[in-house]
């Protein structure tokens, strides 16, 4: 597999990055990204990033959590170890609501966090953009655009020219080690 190459350019303000990312998207690039210290509203639309499908993952987890909780309470209280407690039926489902609810939430939470990490392909401790000399400021006060060599339109010279044209600074071509 060819080494992953990335062109990275730096920008100063949220307004610049939104405009620049929009220009890159309009130029037809697909494998590009913006790196910002905080989520910028409107940037995802400018980049034409589709909405997150995370909700479906969470829903499946929550549904499983609730069904599983209700099932094991039924099986343990009514099938495997039936005991009459307080004269109530073996399957006294009203009393099983709190635990069913708690496990629905618990599984949903696991689904949310691990689903988010899965969709983002994290953890990933090594990425060529991290090698940009100024990239440390992407978590402080600077904004970056990266275009990856996997993009069909990627061309070291022409892509660099585009980044320069839209106002990118400190443009660097980085390679995965």
């Amino acid at each position: 597999m060819a080494k992953l190459k990335v062109l990275v350019a730096e920008f100063d303000t949220p307004a610049q990055i939104v405009e620049a990312a929009g220009a890159v998207a309009d130029a037809g690039y697909r494998d590009f990204d913006a790196h910002t210290p905080f989520p910028i509203h409107g940037l995802d639309r400018a980049m034409k990033v589709p909405g997150s499908k995370l909700g479906w993952i969470v829903f499946a987890h929550g549904l499983f959590g609730g069904c599983f909780a209700l099932w094991f309470q039924w099986w343990m209280s009514a099938v495997d170890y039936p005991m009459v407690i307080g004269g109530k039926p073996y399957f006294s489902y009203q009393a099983f609501v709190p635990i069913t609810f708690a496990l629905t939430i618990l599984l949903s939470a696991f689904g949310t966090v691990f689903g988010m990490l899965f969709l983002n392909r994290l953890p990933r401790w090594s990425h060529p953009v991290l090698a940009h000399p100024d990239f440390r400021r992407s978590t402080d006060d600077k904004f970056f655009i990266s275009i990856e060599s996997t993009d069909p339109k990627f061309d070291a010279n022409r892509t660099r020219a585009l980044l320069e044209q839209i106002g990118g600074k400190r443009i660097a071509l980085l390679e995965s080690p």
């Binding site: 910002t36 989520p39 409107g42 995370l54 343990m76 005991m83 939430i105 939470a109 949310t112 440390r136």
Partner: protein, 478 residues
């Protein structure tokens, strides 16, 4: 939406104008990073070591009391009949209650788009997690023979037995366990971008490595932020019913038992209001100190503290209403045992505790009706401590209702032993040890979130009047 907003700022109501001013002192993005990250990077101050040593000492008392309890059994506490639930349950509910503010601030205020929460949510969430850790200790050791603590979980065992799922005490295990886990997940998700900030600022290899691993290789990618923000929204959405359910289920410990003074339907909402009340009071107590020591005054402004004090006033008054309504229903029900339980609370042997509770919880927050009081640091610090004392006594009063049951021949008076007291004091050692570690090594304010609510974060900031299309787009994106 069709025309850009052209109302001059001077004509806007202050509440609208204030929203733009969440960060004071003219800080820019980099300043925010500096202010929050610096305390974790500077040489550890001597005062921190002193405080940490003190906290560790108190934690040692906690450990020793628990070891002695395990060795000797729950007889070392003042437990007897009819008060079979002593300080352990009081302390448990006290700590769980405190642990409610964090998730309330991170989840419910998030859903209500209360942007001011960003300055305090990290801090309050940390407090939540540590308070829940303290809370979970008490039922864990209260079982007496703690080597059987695993009976609380539905684990397959050689006896072929399963727990009783009709018991509120078992619901508690699941509710508080879920709450603790979800709080940690929520907290950690919020921390990821800020851990990356610390990683990128690291001056030493060790820091770069540790924060690097913990931040999971976060690179601020917008494609990641889309999933991240969705995850944050969903976590807020599922935590909101959770935070309300946890103290509801804690209140079931009392309300589901057929005991006069406990068997009431007002308990769940009343416990939830009390939990938020005590949690906010604890946040104010700690925040007043922390913003002073760490220089967070531009990020946690008097406006933030005033808003918290308003919530304290609201929830304190709700709790006062619940106290009144309990009395009314005790009389209105016509049940003589119920009536006796309440008259005995207010005028019986524990009247002193009852009136401490009323003074601290109902009377003291009323000072917050006055703007001067709400914005005075010494006043809010003192009142928040009163509230915490009052909320401990609330649980004490509820638990001690047992001391005069149906048979006068078995009436008693609960006297705590020295071990009751040391275990309770010791739990503060656990809380403050964890808290000091948090303040030393993690960003105490959510850096990325604070930046996100600054006016400079808006792509249209400083551009004056944009075209209609972009404005509409912006509104929709929100």
């Amino acid at each position: 939406m069709s025309t850009p907003n052209t109302i001059p700022e001077a004509l806007l109501p202050t509440s609208v104008y204030e929203e733009e001013q969440l960060v004071h002192g003219g800080l820019n993005f980099h300043d925010v990073t500096e202010v929050v990250a610096r305390p974790t990077e500077e040489k550890t101050p001597i005062a921190w070591y002193v405080a940490f040593a003190l906290a560790l000492g108190v934690l040692g008392i906690f450990g020793a009391s628990i070891l002695y309890l395990i060795w000797e059994g729950t007889g070392i506490w003042g437990l007897q009949q009819p008060v079979g639930w002593g300080w352990a349950i009081v302390n448990f509910v006290f700590w769980v209650g405190i642990g409610h503010a964090g998730t309330l601030i991170s989840a419910i205020l998030f859903l209500f788009r209360q942007k001011w929460r960003t300055s305090i949510n990290r801090f309050a969430e940390a407090m939540t997690i540590f308070a829940v850790a303290c809370a979970l200790t008490f039922p864990g050791i209260h079982v007496g023979r703690i080597w059987f603590a695993y009976w609380m979980f539905p684990l397959p065992n050689q006896m072929g037995m399963w727990p009783n799922f009709r018991s509120p005490l078992l619901w508690d295990v699941f509710a508080v366990g879920t709450y603790g886990t979800v709080s940690i997940l929520f907290w950690y998700v919020g921390l990821i971008p800020d851990l990356a900030t610390l990683r990128d600022r690291a001056k030493t290899k060790a820091r770069a490595l540790i924060y690097g691993i913990l931040s999971l290789g976060w690179r601020g990618s917008m494609r990641h932020w889309v999933h991240y923000e969705k995850a944050y929204l969903i976590l807020a959405g599922i935590s909101t019913p959770l935070v309300l359910s946890v103290h509801t289920i804690v209140s079931f410990d009392f309300a589901v038992s057929v005991v006069p003074g406990w068997h009431t339907t007002i308990f769940p909402p009343y416990f939830v209001a009390g939990a938020i009340f005590s949690g906010f009071a604890m946040v104010v107590t700690l925040m007043v100190v922390a913003r002073q020591v760490f220089g967070f005054k531009d990020l946690v402004t008097l406006n933030h503290l005033e808003k918290m004090n308003k919530i304290i006033l609201l929830t304190g008054t709700l709790v006062g209403y619940a106290y009144g309504m309990e009395f009314f229903i005790a009389w209105y029900s016509g049940n003589e045992y119920e009536a006796f339980a309440f008259v005995n609370r207010a005028f019986g042997p524990y009247a002193w505790a009852y009136w401490i509770m009323i003074s601290c919880n109902v009377i003291s927050p009323q000072f917050f009706w006055f703007k001067k009081m709400r914005r005075s640091i010494p006043v809010m610090f003192a009142l928040s401590i009163f509230v915490n004392i009052g909320m401990w006594f609330e649980r004490f009063v509820i638990t001690m209702t047992l001391h005069r049951d149906f048979l006068p021949s078995s009436w008693g008076y609960y006297m705590p032993s020295i071990w009751d007291i040391l275990t309770f004091i010791g739990s503060f050692g656990l809380f403050f040890t964890l808290f000091l570690l948090f303040l030393r090594f993690l960003p105490a304010i959510a850096i990325a979130e604070v930046k996100g609510v600054m006016p400079e974060a808006d792509p249209h900031h400083g551009h004056g009047h944009h075209g209609e299309v972009r404005h509409a787009e912006h509104v929709e994106a929100h």
